[in-house]
């Protein structure tokens, strides 16, 4: 489904990703781990098309298309979804209005009829149960005044409604207490299907106890230093990231 080859990405003058390779197939869950500053979030944002990131080398194909040539909204309509680490507050726009506009843009692109208000509300009701999001929250302005946990649940709720093919979860566990983490993970697990792929970006192994990945990749200095099965995460938990070789192209950090 997704094929990342030799991806180099710069932000401003500094190169963040330095030759990253990654292949993700339908039905798989890939965890991307790594120390702070290794490029995990950059990878998530570049895949979703955030402006301000310069791809200087390499290519990304998604369902046999050049993903990097697509605008962010085109990627979303093709089934790419990014759950934000810091979901954005949009005062003045209600959650349901926002989601209906998004879903209908995606449906239109797929050649499906737009959902009317009744059908949409039925869908909202069904999906809001998945992440235990109160219905009142869906009528409030997008993320405005939401707690950290509510914001993360809202991201997964959006994912459930928009039904993506490739979901990228950027540090979805950050700032969550254990109960909120369980709720979010339960929602994500219910969305695991044979057709859907997921990339779970996280700093901690904790999340992977609840969302068990098929593959674990360790990102160090902008490239994947090590890949393995789910047990690799446990290894990292006990040994930390320090022992990993950043690789021959690594550049020493300034002190």
């Amino acid at each position: 489904m997704l094929n990342v080859q030799d991806l180099h990405v710069s932000v401003g003058c500094s190169e963040i990703l330095r030759g990253l390779d990654l292949a993700v197939n339908a039905g798989e869950v890939h965890a991307i781990m790594g120390p702070n500053g290794s490029g995990k979030s950059t990878l998530a944002h570049v895949l979703a098309g955030r402006p301000g990131y310069d791809v200087t080398q390499g290519r990304v194909t998604y369902r046999d298309r050049d993903l990097l040539s697509l605008a962010p909204e085109e990627r979303a309509r093709e089934g790419v979804f990014l759950a934000f680490q810091y979901p954005v507050e949009v005062p003045g726009v209600s959650n349901v209005y926002f989601l209906k506009a998004a879903l209908n843009a995606i449906r239109k692109h797929r050649g499906e009829p737009e959902l009317d208000a009744m059908d949409f509300l039925a869908l909202v009701k069904e999906k809001s149960g998945l992440v235990e999001i109160e219905e009142a929250l869906t009528r409030r302005a997008v993320n405005e005044g939401f707690s950290g946990g509510e914001k993360k649940r809202n991201e997964i709720f959006q994912m459930a409604v928009l039904d993506p093919r490739l979901a990228i979860l950027d540090e979805t566990d950050s700032g969550l207490d254990i109960d909120a983490l369980r709720t979010v993970a339960r929602g994500v697990n219910q969305l695991r299907t044979a057709e859907r792929a997921m990339i779970v970006v996280t700093h901690y192994q904790r999340l992977l106890e609840y969302i068990v990945p098929d593959f674990v990749h360790v990102l160090v200095d902008g490239r994947i230093a090590l890949s393995g099965g789910k047990d690799l995460a446990l290894d990292l938990e006990t040994r930390g990231y320090g022992w990993l070789d950043p690789g021959p192209n690594a550049v020493a950090e300034a002190p």
């Binding site: 402006p51 301000g52 962010p72 909204e73 979303a76 990014l82 003045g92 506009a101 998004a102 302005a141």
Partner: protein, 445 residues
């Protein structure tokens, strides 16, 4: 020394007819003193600190005459119908070119409040007017407010009886037909609201034009809020595109009084609005909100002054501007804390959203604090649509232009959503939808 006045406003109007109106001596004296005050001040120029960004020479050089509309009643009725709040209002007073229109107004009989035209009361030596009329404004007005007092033909008087709560708003509609004169027309609408102690009421003022011509509306509103009373005032300005609109609102709240003003400036080629709020008693609160929309070459100036004259008073202020085309928006927010007015809590925010390369915003917060145990905060921003918010919406499949429109509309909704009268909130949302391209057909949440 002032330059000699051009044969424009107000010279073309001639000296105010102080003697021909049969008015009570107090009114006669007030008009005369305000005219003298104007003669001393003269028209403001960009050299005046408070008019630095707003040049009114185009008003001063236009020979406006008092509107004497003889036709266009049908258009007035259309304008009224489009702003009919129906059963949502407790009473409706309609003014055409600043003059009361009994046939278009609706004043149901009741005893909780008194509402009617000012003109008849100006002839009386007794009643509440000699005590309150012109007193809230006092010396705080500018040349335009002086001229309003000198030239006003009529206006609205609303008094809420002690302890009474009026659930539905009292509606004041000022329509400019602005015809019947060989020159551009001017009207001087005037309003006095008196909320007696412990009362509560909502007032809605709408200033609209049913004229394609150039005209001037120079309005003054005074609001007296006695101890423990609350007045919520919503004002919508939707004058015609060629109009000039200058308005001054002065409100004074006593002990535990509460003054709310929400202003929506959507019309006129040049709009200047001054709010002067004074908190005169402990526990007094005021809340000033404003939204101004600029496009084309429009110029909008919002000046506010909050005077914390008593300890333990608080104020909240949010003004937002959306500026497109070559429009120019000006916000000037002054907060004054008097000596010994301790335990003040004042918060002011001004945010400007710039949609084009040529639009311009000026934002000047000004704190004058003469007490030491106070909390005053202010924040002011001028910028474009937040790129992170834009990316968030696009990452969900919404295309870029729709996302921009949605965020612009949402920016305006923060203020529009505060309006508590459903018919008015809906009307404002529809206006925003018609002025902000591609805004969603959904009311503010």
């Amino acid at each position: 020394m002032n330059d000699p006045a051009p044969v424009g406003y107000p010279t073309a109007l001639g000296a105010p007819r102080f003697d021909s109106r049969n008015e009570a001596p107090w009114m006669h004296a007030l008009r005369r003193s305000m005219f003298e005050s104007y003669m001393k001040r003269g028209m403001p120029t960009p050299k005046d600190e408070d008019w630095r960004h707003t040049n009114v020479s185009s008003i001063a050089t236009t020979p406006f005459l008092a509107a004497a509309s003889t036709n266009g009643r049908a258009r007035a009725r259309d304008a009224i119908e489009s702003w009919d709040l129906g059963r949502e209002v407790a009473a409706a007073l309609v003014f055409i070119d600043g003059r009361y229109s009994p046939e278009l107004s609706a004043l149901p009989k009741q005893d909780a409040f008194q509402a009617g035209p000012l003109e008849a009361l100006w002839r009386r030596a007794d009643g509440p007017l000699p005590k309150h009329f012109g007193r809230v404004l006092g010396e705080n007005g500018h040349a335009f407010a002086d001229l309003n007092t000198a030239y006003a033909e009529d206006g609205a008087f609303v008094a809420i009886a002690r302890g009474r709560v009026i659930e539905r708003p009292i509606y004041l509609l000022f329509i400019s037909l602005a015809n019947g004169t060989p020159h551009p027309a001017v009207s001087h609408p005037r309003t006095l609201v008196l909320a007696e102690s412990g009362s509560r009421a909502a007032i809605v003022s709408v200033y609209g034009g049913a004229s394609e011509d150039l005209y001037l509306t120079n309005a003054v509103t005074e609001i007296v809020i006695e101890d423990g009373a609350t007045v919520e005032h919503d004002e919508l300005q939707i004058e015609s595109p060629r109009a000039f609109h200058v308005s001054t609102l002065a409100g004074r709240a006593g002990r535990d009084g509460r003054f709310v003003d929400r202003s929506f400036v959507l019309g006129a080629r040049l709009a200047r609005r001054d709010v002067i709020a004074r908190l005169d008693g402990e526990g007094g609160e005021c809340e000033l909100d404003g939204l101004y929309l600029g496009n084309g070459t429009r110029h909008i100036d919002a000046h506010t002054r909050i005077d914390h004259a008593s300890p333990h008073t608080s104020s909240r202020e949010i003004y937002k501007g959306i500026l497109d085309g070559r429009s120019h928006g000006v916000f000037h927010g002054r907060i004054v804390v008097r000596p010994d007015a301790q335990k003040i809590d004042a918060r002011q925010v001004n945010k400007n959203l710039i949609l084009s390369d040529a639009a311009l915003a000026n934002s000047t917060p000004q704190l004058q604090i003469h007490a030491d145990d106070v909390r005053c905060t202010h924040a002011s921003t001028i910028g474009q649509i937040d790129p992170v918010s834009l990316f968030y919406l696009r990452s969900r499949g919404i295309d870029e232009s729709a996302a921009r429109n949605l965020l612009t509309y949402a920016f305006a909704c923060e203020i529009a959503g505060k309006v508590r009268i459903p018919g008015l909130r809906g009307g404002i949302a529809r206006l925003l939808q018609s002025r902000l391209p591609g805004a969603p057909m959904e009311l503010c949440p």
